[in-house]
Every structure is written in structure tokens, then in C-alpha cells.
């Protein structure tokens, strides 16, 4: 499977979750694991460009596919991805645990709706839970991300 542009061997254990494979085998620990049943959204990654829950996929299913994690959004030292930059500017994160999942979901949202309405923003982030920042600043960050992405 290709992860952030680099080819990797598929795991030998067919029972390995994609989320565990990314974190434990590839050491890409930016993908977080919260609930392990698809509710919290922390483990969201891009699978062939569309956001999915990595805890609800087996790693072997990603063979032959392209996976992008939060580490693939911007190289070390390079400018942040517009969605990351917007979360930074708008204080869209506090503890940061949910943030990688939010960023990946918002990338998907903006691909679907480049200029999202307030309702589309709410629906787009409804599948991600935040327990400290509060959604008001995250909403602002999504609108800002849409602006930054146009530039």
C-alpha cells in the first residue's frame, strides 16, 4: 500500500486494523485512536482521497490503495496545509487529540463543497467529536480553510 507517497509492504497479520498498522507498524502516530467503533472520528484518514475511518478497515484491505495520514498533509518545515493553517489561525484545537481526524474530514468536506454553507460545515464535522476546544472555533476554522484553499 502507498502511505503518504511511500510504498509499504502489507502487514502479515490479516486481523490488523489499518489504524493499528499505521500507528504500530509504520510509526505514523498522528492518526489517533479513540473509540474503535467509528463514532469519534479521531482515526480518520484519506483512502484513495476520500476520508474514511481507519479503525473500521483491515490493513490488508488497503493493499494497492493510497492512504494519506495527517503526516502527509505538509512536509516537515514546509508551510502547513490550508486546513491545518486555518485550525492554527482560528484556535480550532486545544489538546489536539481529535485534530488529525478533524483535518482529514474537513479535507474531504472541502473537496465535496469548496464553498460550504454553515449547514454543510456542521454536517461535515458532525462525525468528529471534540471534548475540549468546542465546535464554535472549529466551525470558524472550516470556513477559514475554505478561504485559504481558494488562494
Amino acid at each position: 500500500m502507498r502511505v503518504n507517497g511511500v510504498d509499504h509492504e502489507a502487514p502479515t497479520d490479516p486481523r490488523r486494523l489499518l489504524s493499528d498498522h499505521l500507528r504500530h507498524d509504520l510509526r505514523l502516530t498522528g492518526t489517533h485512536v479513540g473509540c474503535e467503533h467509528g463514532v469519534c472520528g479521531c482515526c480518520t484518514v484519506l483512502f484513495d482521497g476520500a476520508p474514511v475511518r481507519s479503525c473500521l478497515m483491515l490493513a490488508v484491505q488497503a493493499e494497492g490503495h493510497e492512504v494519506t495520514t495527517i503526516e502527509g498533509m505538509a512536509a516537515d518545515g514546509a508551510p502547513l496545509h490550508p486546513v491545518q493553517q486555518a485550525f492554527h489561525e482560528c484556535h480550532g484545537l486545544q489538546c489536539g487529540f481529535c485534530t488529525p481526524g478533524f483535518v482529514m474530514s474537513v479535507v474531504g468536506l472541502l473537496a465535496q463543497h469548496p464553498e460550504p454553507t454553515a449547514q454543510e460545515v456542521d454536517e461535515g464535522i458532525a462525525g468528529n467529536l471534540c471534548r475540549c476546544t468546542g465546535y464554535a472555533s472549529i466551525r470558524r476554522a472550516v470556513h477559514r480553510a475554505a478561504e485559504l484553499s481558494k488562494k
Binding site: 467503533h37 467509528g38 473500521l56 462525525g127
Partner: protein, 222 residues
């Protein structure tokens, strides 16, 4: 049988399901089409919820199906989850089995012995149970053209959660979900008759019946 995995993988993660064998059908080619058939829409086993949600064909022929899919979880889940998977999983609180029942659709089950059609009223046999055999694969669900007016309404604690109760109107027909072990057809003039919904910390039986009556009124006011 693993397609989108958005219901089965949580069961595996919680060790609630421990199957001896798991068959992933995702690499089977030509099983992800959404196409017009017999005046309705056929949705194949690997067609994702998101694909159905965005389909111009579904919007034109069966907008009720599109409206229902939008109530299934969240877009990120719908990117992976499948319509046929929702039906085969047959969660009593799930929208799509009730839509299939309200519309009078069917599924196509295939085994090494051949194919057979199972109509919606013969499909849902119990909670999380269908009449699809252990040697069969649900390859396609067929939804008739949705009549006018059609509507789906549900009440849930949070957007994207499983519904406490919900109603599907397809013309004069009414199907309910979340109030019995399977989706059920009901009389629009007395939708709660004969029902004994379950009680849980989310909602009492009386509250579920109240929701059914209120949502039915709303659906038939349109």
C-alpha cells in the same frame, strides 16, 4: 461477509462477533454499479452510500432513497459503507431496510446454485436476521421508483445517530423502523397499533409510539 465494514468492523473490534472465516468482497470487479432496471434503481453490493447519495439516477428515479441515505451516519462513514450492507445487516433502527419495505423492493441473492429474488416482505426475519442463506451473497438491492409524495422522518439524539424511531412514507404505504425487531408496515391512520417497542435508557416504549404517531402525521401532511 465484509463489504463496507461500517457495522461488522465495530462488532469485530468489540469481539461481539468472532467469525471463523471472513470473506472480503471488495476486490470483486463489476459489483459496484448503480443502474436503472425495471423502472427502478438497482444498487449493487459494493456501491457505497456516498455514491448513491451523489447519484443523478437515484435523485431522478428514487429521491426517497437519496433522502434516506443522507440520514445514515455521517459522510465519512458513508464513503465506505454500502447500501446492500445496511440491508443485509438489518439493524432494526436502520433506515434502508424500512425504505426497501415501504417501496416494495427486493434483493438479489446469489450462490453457487444460482440467483433468487427475495422481496422485502420476505427478507427481514428478525433482529439482525434476514432470509439470505449462509451460502448466499446479497449482490443487489432493487428500489422501485419512489411515488409522490414520499418522505422519511426520524428522531435521534444527535445527527447521525441511530434513530429512536422513524417512518418512511411511499405514496399511501407506511413503514416504521426502530420500533420492532424488523421494519414493519403500518396503517397510516393508526401507526402504533399492535406495536410493543423496546425500552432502553434512550427512550421508553410510550415515547417511541409517540414519535411514530407524530412523525407519521408529519409525513402524511406533505
Amino acid at each position: 461477509m465484509l463489504a463496507g465494514g461500517q457495522s461488522l468492523m465495530p462488532l469485530l473490534n468489540f469481539r461481539l462477533a468472532r467469525p471463523a472465516h471472513l470473506i472480503d468482497i471488495n476486490r470483486i470487479g463489476g459489483l459496484d454499479r448503480i443502474y436503472e432496471r425495471d423502472g427502478g434503481v438497482a444498487v449493487q453490493a459494493l456501491a457505497r452510500h456516498a455514491g448513491v447519495e451523489d447519484s443523478d439516477l437515484v435523485a431522478r428515479v428514487c429521491p426517497l432513497l437519496r433522502d434516506a441515505v443522507r440520514l445514515v451516519a455521517h459522510r465519512v462513514i458513508r464513503n465506505r459503507g454500502t447500501v446492500c450492507g445496511s440491508i443485509a445487516h438489518s439493524d432494526p433502527a436502520s433506515e434502508l431496510p424500512a425504505v426497501l419495505l415501504a417501496l416494495g423492493g427486493h434483493v438479489v441473492a446469489r450462490s453457487s446454485g444460482g440467483e433468487r429474488r427475495i422481496t422485502a416482505d420476505q427478507l427481514f426475519t428478525g433482529m439482525f436476521e434476514t432470509s439470505i442463506g449462509p451460502d448466499e451473497l446479497l449482490v443487489e438491492a432493487w428500489f422501485p421508483r419512489s411515488p409522490f409524495p414520499s418522505a422519511i422522518y426520524e428522531e435521534s439524539r444527535r445527527h447521525g445517530d441511530f434513530a429512536l424511531a422513524g417512518v418512511v412514507r411511499a405514496g399511501d404505504r407506511l413503514a416504521l423502523f426502530g420500533v420492532a425487531a424488523t421494519p414493519v408496515l403500518a396503517d397510516p391512520s393508526d401507526p402504533g397499533r399492535g406495536l410493543q417497542p423496546s425500552s432502553d435508557p434512550e427512550a421508553s416504549p410510550d415515547f417511541r409510539l409517540h414519535l411514530v404517531r407524530t412523525l407519521t402525521e408529519k409525513a402524511f401532511a406533505a
